[in-house]
Amino acid sequence: MRTVSIFICAFSLLSVSLFSQSKKVEKKQDSIKWKYTPNFTVGVDVLNIGTGFFGDRQLIQGFISSRINKKVHAIIDIGYDNNIYQKNGYDAKADGLFAKIGGFYMLSTDPENDLNGFYAGGKLAGSFYNQEYMAIPVKGINSEGVFVSFDPSTQSSYWIEAMLGARVQVFNSNFFIDVNVQPRYLAYTTKQDEIKPMIVPGFGKSSGSFNMGFSWNIAYKF
């Protein structure tokens, strides 16, 4: 856990120095009228791939977004998450694929480049995964260290999430840095023998229904 925190700290400092170098380039943008032409931005979450080397969780995720009109972008995320939960007598693991679909709205944009700016949006998400609970504690007075285990099973979970973030063009290239947070709420999950899952791939720790995700992407605009 500590090495992960150090990595995230170092990463954020690096990103600050990167941001400070980027200078706004004067660029005449189109007028009020904006017509949709096929456009795609593809991004990869480099922060979570990086933290995967230091922690128990391997989270690989990326997105494809497309600008629909002047301020609205549609977005699809896909990813793979492999995680373990070993705490309070639990020993569990889960891994699987997840996908999210949604859109976001540019709240405030750089007048010189309307691809730069802050945005807010929402997504619907689903995850399909394998889980195995090797141990779940049985609680009773004067008896410690009693557990039950369950066979591996396939489950699915669904959640809604909001996204708040910013997108900044790197110098004058087609590369962007896209940083966002995702407060999320677990709406529905299938259960093995009524057991509420402790971890859900793509969602994270799920013992409570609320969670917060964070991603730091490098994106390329085609």
Binding site: K139, G140, I141, S143, V181, S207
Partner: protein
């Protein structure tokens, strides 16, 4: 923000109001009347190296005994009326049922088909069954007859 989200959050804490219920016993004297022991000692064998003393107190009219939750089909406990003196061995056997409670609390155990047996008399002479199901701590499961 980056540093904030990197901090881990504490996990839920099991408040224990909905955990495994304890066995409830009351006492009767030779005339079958409710009885209060002037002093009482209760020791329970939880399958460890030593038996565990769970009660030593004065003026006891009822006791709660946490039963075993492991694989054992019975729990043995010992009743003494004096610190040094004869002790009764009592065995309560049962069928266990695991019930899921919550992420923080995990599972609890409910007991069915409770059966009491006095393996060693004095001071307890016999055991009378009242309720063979243990799903909460509201009802009396056994009477110990002194």
């Amino acid at each position: 923000m980056l540093l904030l989200t990197s901090c881990g959050s504490d996990d839920d804490i099991c408040l224990g109001q909905d955990s495994t219920p304890r066995l409830k016993l009351l006492f009767r004297n030779a005339n079958n009347q409710l009885y209060t022991a002037d002093t009482l000692y209760v020791d329970v064998d939880y399958g460890k190296d030593t038996i565990k003393n769970i009660i030593y107190s004065a003026n006891v009219d009822s006791i709660f005994i946490p039963l075993r939750i492991d694989e054992s089909p019975y729990t043995d406990f010992y009743i003494r009326r004096r610190s040094v003196g004869p002790r009764s061995k009592i065995r309560v056997s049962y069928d266990k049922k695991l019930i899921y409670v919550s992420p923080a609390c995990g599972f609890k155990v409910n007991y069915e088909n409770l059966k009491g047996e006095v393996l060693q008399t004095d001071p307890v002479q016999s055991i009378q069954t009242n309720n063979t199901s243990l799903t909460n701590e509201n009802s009396i499961n056994f009477y110990l007859r002194f």
